[in-house]
């Protein structure tokens, strides 16, 4: 048995590779087989992370495994889908048992947290990169797309913005901070929590949704374009955490909140009558703007005047980022 076949057996033994609901056949045959309850659709998303482009070469493998799956599952959250499983295509230069053990541990942790099973994949030799495809189920016709926002809806987000981009300053060693500031930010970066429960709670309520991966303004642009509407973002309403303010000051924090990527929080549009019920049920729904007639995204000051967006606060890791 070659070293790469050994790796396959290694992943096949992880607890998240045991069958689960919706998985009729898991790892080990030519294909996995998934089952869907009658009346549901399958949501599918694929993401690639490349070493030195999307994560530093020195990344802790356990944190990397955790983050890679969390980021991918966030796309299911954005549709309101419930995870079933995922495939992992892992390309790596050599088989290092300690690295693999830690990577599989991080992956398994996130998989267990989110109820996703490892159902297959491929392991090849080459420059380090990961491609994950995630699979979830969602009631037919109810998935949250980017295309349903209506004039008059509120624009909302699922938590404090900008922390992914703020944390990247720490990850890259560009800034340092005391533990009480650094720890929550680094946790958000390395262990992004896909807002799966929130996405499911928004089914039948939100009119459009996505997860913020390119920065609030850029991602709002996707909703505006797909829905054929304009979105306005009120700068004064941006939710920003104390830790991010402490790390970057007001201006830097705001720049990350508007243009920073890697947040993996949901942004969504909500008819106003839905707001009170969601907030009363304890969902982290923060209003940051509204849907208007027109096109594109406008940033407003406290007096409701259009202002220029700050220069992009966000860059993917590494100079070659795309």
């Amino acid at each position: 048995m070659g070293e790469f076949e050994l790796i396959r057996h290694y992943f096949a033994a992880a607890s998240c590779a045991r069958g689960g609901e919706g998985v009729a056949l898991g790892i080990g045959d030519d294909c996995a087989l998934l089952e869907l309850p009658v009346g549901e659709q399958l949501a599918v998303s694929t993401d690639t992370l490349v070493e030195a482009v999307h994560f530093p070469a020195s990344a802790d493998p356990c944190l990397l495994g955790q983050r890679a799956l969390g980021v991918s599952l966030s796309d299911l959250a954005a549709m309101g889908a419930t995870p079933i499983g995922f495939t992992l295509a892992l390309t790596l230069p050599r088989a290092e048992p300690a690295w693999l053990e830690a990577f599989a541990r991080g992956l398994d942790r996130m998989a267990q947290q989110c109820g996703a099973r490892l159902i297959g994949g491929d392991t090849t030799r080459g420059p380090l990169s990961l491609t994950l495809s995630v699979f979830g189920r969602v009631p037919a016709g109810q998935a949250l797309t980017r295309a349903g926002a209506r004039v008059g809806d509120l624009l909302c987000v699922g938590g404090c913005l900008g922390e992914g981009a703020g944390a990247l300053e720490l990850v890259l060693g560009r800034r340092q901070a005391v533990a009480e500031v650094a720890e929550p930010l680094l946790a958000r970066y390395w262990s992004p929590q896909p807002q799966l429960a929130l996405g499911q709670a928004l089914l039948g309520k939100a009119t459009a949704a996505l997860d913020i991966s390119d920065g609030l303004l850029a991602d709002c642009g996707h909703i505006a374009a797909a829905s054929g509407v304009a979105l306005s973002v009120e700068q004064a309403r941006l939710p920003i955490s104390a830790a991010l303010l402490e790390l970057l000051g007001e201006q830097g924090a705001r720049r990350c909140a508007l243009g920073g990527g890697d947040d993996y929080l949901l942004a969504f549009t909500l008819p106003p009558p839905q707001l009170a019920g969601l907030q009363a049920a304890g969902w982290p729904v923060q209003v940051v703007g509204r849907v208007e007639a027109g096109q594109g995204v406008r940033l407003l000051d406290e007096q409701g005047r259009s202002i220029a967006a700050p220069a992009q606060g966000y860059q993917h890791f590494g100079a070659a980022g795309v």
Copy 2:
């Protein structure tokens, strides 16, 4: 719009990216949405191809696109599944329009041939590699797995063996041949035809199946292990094409037929009463051996005596192959 966003738009415009049966939502949102007819299961497989490991750096991009998708769809054929769609995660060092145009053309050609739609993916910068996930549908409980072979079944293959490995000699420039020898072999290598129709015809008839990617003997070992049986392969019954014989001579051709990879033909086990009907219907079913009690794979000479398998005829492209 960055160059990589342009690429995404480029693929989104390919004809195979237009919606089709089973695709409720294609490219452009956080997830694609697939639908399954009631009573069917979804078959999923993921494969990665890395430059200089699985294909030469100089590979023609149109042929590469065609081959990458053909190889992946072969896993659906092995389960008896009907293709719905696929995702493409493409990592490449830079965006070269001519390369991309040709790659997308080859991909599109194979997608159209096989009825598979491009439903999503990711485009990232980095060393050239492709990860494809393919999705198909199959009647619930009827998928052909590796696990059902029974003592007394015939061991069959779907065509002439060893051509993928033989062609690799030409691809790598280790051998040359006249056009009438080279062309059919190179076509098998660059445009592998997944045996989708054969796989579907075997539903309810074959007891186990897979597609030959690692060589007949190695892949028969997978059926034997999963089914808890032994398989015997009769050397005299190996179907070998005139082109391969011409290129490699009898011994070389046999070595490729037994140990060569990259054939992407189906190997399957069949209760003897099923054989005549399939052959009468015109399916390319060749008996090469049978299922016996025991474990492992035996190679038999014309007198039915066990003989040693020839040294492995097959290596993935490149010294670093895995």
